[in-house]
Each structure stands twice: as C-alpha cells, then as structure tokens.
C-alpha cells in the first residue's frame, strides 16, 4: 500500500530522516512512536507529500507521490497535521464539508452530505456543527479536524498525534474508531502516538523511531520489551502484563 524507500530529509544540512525504508501493507493500524524530535512528524509529512524527500521516494498504491496529481492523491490519502491552528472562521460543518472537496470539487451531492453527517456523528460533533472553529476548545477543534479527515474517506489516513488535547473518553473513542476503520473497512491508518500503552493496546504494528531512523518495527508483543524501550526513551521503563495487555510503566 505505502512503500517508503530509502527516504532522506535534511534541514539546513542536518539529517532529520536517514535511510527510512518501510513497507506498510493494506489495512491495519500502525503506530509510530519515539521521543521528541525523532522525525515522526517529518516522516508523516513526507508520506503525505507536504514535504519532498531529499532522497528516496514514497509510493502509494504504486503511485509515486512526487509525480502524482495532487487531486488524485487527495482521493486516496488524508492527513492530519500535529498542530491545526486553522485561523479561518469556518463552522465545524463547513470544515468537515471541505474534507469532501477532493471528491465533490465544490458540487456536493447526496453521498458527500451523507459522509459529512456520518463524520460529524462519529465524532459526537452534532451539537457543535454550526459553531465557528474559534468558539471551540482545543479538544473540540481537534475532533473537528479528525472528522474532516474521516469525511475525506480515503484508503490511507495519516494522523499526527490525533489524541493531543483529548480527554480519556474521546481519546479511547477515536483510537477505537480508527482501529475499526482499519480492521473492518480495510483502511491503512498510520498514527503518531505519544502514549506507548495506547499504541500497544490498539495498534497492529508499531514503528519505533529515534534520531531520524526507524529503529525497529513489528507487532506490539515484539516491541514491548523493557530493555528496548528504556534505551529508546533513555528512561527506566518496565513492562508488565495487566488485564491481558502489555503495559509499560515509567
């Protein structure tokens, strides 16, 4: 589905991504974890064609991102960035509606309206649908942006720290939601997460990054190892089995 082939990205000569090679099969929820500055957001930006890699390439369903038409890619891939400070005074419904833009090109049909209604309902945004974004709390705004990405209805979804600003109930709801989308609707979802336990509990695969490199990737069971995680985060971490789950304690 997504092939990342020897991608490099430098800022002012400093390598932020080096030799990143990853292959994400269709369907499933992949978490990217790693300490701050590991290059997670940069990798997601490159995967979402917001940045061009300095070397290497990214292909999506056989389509090379840097060559493909922006409009075609927008029908296959949706991306939520880490910080969404949309300054525009749009209503929540309008913002979510713009998620349909790649499909409707400004002429929304019944399918588009249905998708918007569904996305609003899924994120519990109906009571806020006619509010302006600048009248929402950070968490509500985050949910509005996630709803927009869902309305885009793409095979591939990239979310950079989507659980930021969210309370426990909404965080669990959203991670469950994207997991179901991945498992039941065959979508390929990549999320950057801070919470290792969230990643271990809900994701099919975990990619661990540090210093611009992918250290390891595998199933949660393969990666939830105390020694490895302690090394990655440079903090003592122990892993325990609790209620049938692997839980990291730090």
């Amino acid at each position: 589905m997504i092939e990342i082939d020897a991608v490099e990205r430098r800022y002012d000569g400093v390598a932020v991504l080096s030799e990143v090679t990853l292959s994400l099969p269709k369907g499933g929820l992949t978490a990217i974890i790693g300490p701050n500055g590991a290059g997670k957001s940069t990798l997601l930006s490159v995967m979402g064609r917001l940045q061009k890699p300095d070397a290497g390439r990214v292909t999506l369903q056989g389509l090379e991102l840097s060559r493909a038409s922006g409009r075609e890619v927008a029908k296959k891939l949706a991306l939520l960035r880490q910080d969404n400070h949309t300054a525009a005074r749009l209503t929540v419904r309008d913002l979510v509606g713009f998620g349909r833009y790649p499909h409707s090109r400004g002429n929304p049909g019944p399918e588009d309206h249905a998708q918007v209604t569904r996305a609003l309902a899924t994120l519990g945004l109906e009571p806020l649908a006619d509010r302006f974004l600048d009248q929402l709390s950070g968490g509500q705004r985050q949910r509005a942006h996630i709803a927009m990405v869902l309305a885009q209805d793409t095979d591939c979804i990239l979310l950079d720290e989507p659980l930021n600003n969210l309370d426990i109930s909404h965080a669990v709801r959203i991670i469950t939601l994207v997991r179901d989308a991945a498992r039941q609707m065959g979508k390929t979802v990549v999320v950057v997460l801070h919470d290792i336990n969230m990643a271990a509990a809900h994701c099919d695969r975990i990619v661990v990054m540090k210093g611009g490199r992918v250290l390891r990737h595998g199933t949660p069971a393969e990666l939830m190892q105390a020694e490895f995680l302690s090394e990655v985060y440079e903090t003592p971490i122990t892993v325990h089995e609790l209620a049938g789950r692997l839980v990291a304690v730090y």
Partner: protein
C-alpha cells in the same frame, strides 16, 4: 433528523450562525437597492421619479438621470463591490484580517504605474492604463509577500505594519517622481477617490469588476481552502500556489479597475470583509455575495452623505469613507483581539 440546539456562549449570540446571520443576505440586498435608488435621486439638480414622469422620458431631469446619476450610481456600486472583494480575497490568502489593497502596497504600486503611464505614454487608452496599473499592483503585492516571508512574524499586527511601511516607500517614490515632473497636482487630483466626475462614457471600464466577481465566485471554494494554509490545501488536492497567484491577480485587477476610473477609496477593503467575517464567518462561498453587496451599499451611503452634508458642494468619498472606516476599524480592533490572525 432534529438537530440538538448548540449551547451558545452568552457573549457571542450575534456572532453565531443563527437567525441574525440568516437574515443578513436579504437585508443586504434591500439595503443595496435602497441606496441605489437614493443615489439616483439625491443631488444638486432636482431629479425625482415624478419629474421624470412629467417630462415623459426626455427633458433636463431625464438627461441628468441617464448621463450623470445612473453612471455615478453604477460606478459606486461596482467600485464598492470590487474593493470589498479585493480586501476579502487578500485577507483570506494572506491569512491576516488587517490587510487590504492599500495596506500591502497594491494600491500605491498601481498609482506609480499610472503616473508612469501619464508621463511616458499619455495617449494610452483607459484599458491599457488599467493593465499597466494592475501589473504594477501585482508586482507591489508580490514584493510585499517576499518581504513578509523574510521577516519573522511575531504578531498579526506585524503584517499590516510591514505593508504600510512598504506602501509608504512606494508612495514616496511616486510623490518624488511627480514632484520632479510637475505632476504633483494632477497626481493628487486623480488619486483621491471622487465619484462626482463620473459621467456616461467614463466609468464603463468598471464593468470589468462584475466579470472579476464572477471569476472569484467560480474559485470561491478553492480560495477558501487555500486560506486554510498550504498543508491543508495540498491535503485536499488544491493547487495552493496556483490559487494564491490567481487570487493576487484578481486583487490587482480589481484595485486597478477602481483606481483608474475613480481613484483611491480607503478602508473599504478592510472594514467590509471584517464585519462580514465576524457575522458570517470565512467560507467564501457564503460570504462573497454579502461582501460585494455590503461594499456597494457602504460606498453608495458614504457618497450620498458626502452629497448632502455640504450642499451644494460635495465632500469627496475619501473623506466620508475615512471617517466611517477608521471608526469601524477601531471597533474591529477591540472586537478582534482574541482571534487576530
């Protein structure tokens, strides 16, 4: 499906997309029509529907109506709509509420272009003059964006400040050239917005504004998406660069069309889009008609006031607009504190 009512914050009831916002459009239509009719019949020489009826379609009153009042009213409406729209597009694309063509260098650069035409090719027909003005305006806006990129922006107010500085420099160059070539007086004469000189045969270029409004409407969604930022635009498959370029060309053409026909009308592009944004948000598809209508109505209102206050003389529109505009701008500053950018 019944929609649950949203809990609305007390202080923001007017700013909510509620009943007030829904009535805005019909209200704006009525207001614009009322101003249009008033503008036809207010002035030094007496023109009224009954007089024209009595003349039976030919006579001095009818003559005044068709050669002066009607062109003037149309020019006011077109210029008002065009400048308000230019302000709107600029604010959306620059993502700053405090910009308008005259605070980012577009207007001053266009004026410089017109002065150069007057000096070097005085015989150039009006459309060609407008094209030169638009080209200069576009170059000025591009220069502004370049400077903006080079300067770290710590606050939303930095943006118009940089723009005003740049406008000042370009304006100084224009004044200097005009001074050295003895054109200072005529520069002042045509650059001050004035609708009293509009007559049949001298405003028709402004109809370009109507075409530009239509083009903007066609791209409304894409401009709104571009206003959400580069990353958001790319994510939604909108060519951010191309739309930004198109928007800036539209702004330059709109400004140039107004400047070459009636001169500079300040504040309009700032005030109207801001008020509409507060009431109705930033979705261009929804706000564009409202911005154009309100711009037209406001310019007509200011012009009518200018005709009435010092009868039988006239106050130039720049003065009335300046008073109304600066008052409105101060109100906006206090209103916009929370979400300036």
């Amino acid at each position: 499906m019944p929609q649950p009512r949203s809990p609305r914050p007390r202080h923001a009831s007017l700013l909510q997309p509620g009943p007030v916002a829904r009535l805005l459009f019909p209200f704006a239509v009525l207001l614009t029509l009322a101003m249009g009719v008033a503008s036809l019949f207010v002035g030094v020489s007496h023109v009224s529907p009954s007089l024209i009826w009595a003349e039976g379609g030919s006579g001095p009153a009818t003559e005044v109506l068709f050669t002066s009042r009607l062109p003037r009213t149309l020019a006011l409406a077109l210029a008002g709509a065009g400048l308000a729209l230019a302000g709107l597009v600029l604010q959306v694309l620059v993502r700053n509420r405090f910009v308008e063509p005259s605070t980012v260098g577009t207007t001053e650069s266009a004026s410089l272009g017109i002065l150069l035409v007057m000096l070097l090719a005085p015989g150039l027909p009006l459309p060609a003059r407008m094209a030169v003005a638009a080209a200069f305006g576009l170059a000025g806006t591009a220069l502004f964006l370049l400077v903006l990129r080079a300067v770290p922006q710590r606050s939303a107010l930095m943006v118009p400040l940089i723009g005003l500085l740049l406008s000042g420099v370009i304006g100084a160059v224009t004044t200097f050239i005009a001074y050295r070539t003895d054109m200072l007086q005529s520069l002042g004469a045509w650059s001050t917005g004035d609708f009293s000189v509009v007559l049949q045969g001298r405003y028709e270029l402004l109809w370009i504004v109507a075409g530009l409004v239509l083009v903007t409407a066609l791209f409304a969604d894409q401009i709104t998406v571009a206003g959400l930022g580069r990353d958001m635009a790319i994510g939604l498959g909108v060519n951010h660069r191309a739309i930004r370029a198109l928007g800036l060309v539209l702004v330059a053409l709109l400004s140039a069309a107004v400047i070459v026909t009636v001169g500079i009308v300040p504040f309009l592009g700032l005030v109207v889009p801001n008020v509409v944004s507060l009431l109705k948000g930033d979705n261009l598809r929804r706000t564009l008609p409202l911005v154009c209508l309100s711009g037209a109505a406001l310019v007509m209102a200011c012009d009518i006031v200018g005709r009435l206050v010092v009868r039988p003389y006239e106050m130039p529109i720049g003065l009335t607009m300046g008073i109304v505009g600066s008052a409105a701008f101060l109100w906006l500053l206090t209103r916009r504190r929370a979400n300036v950018a």
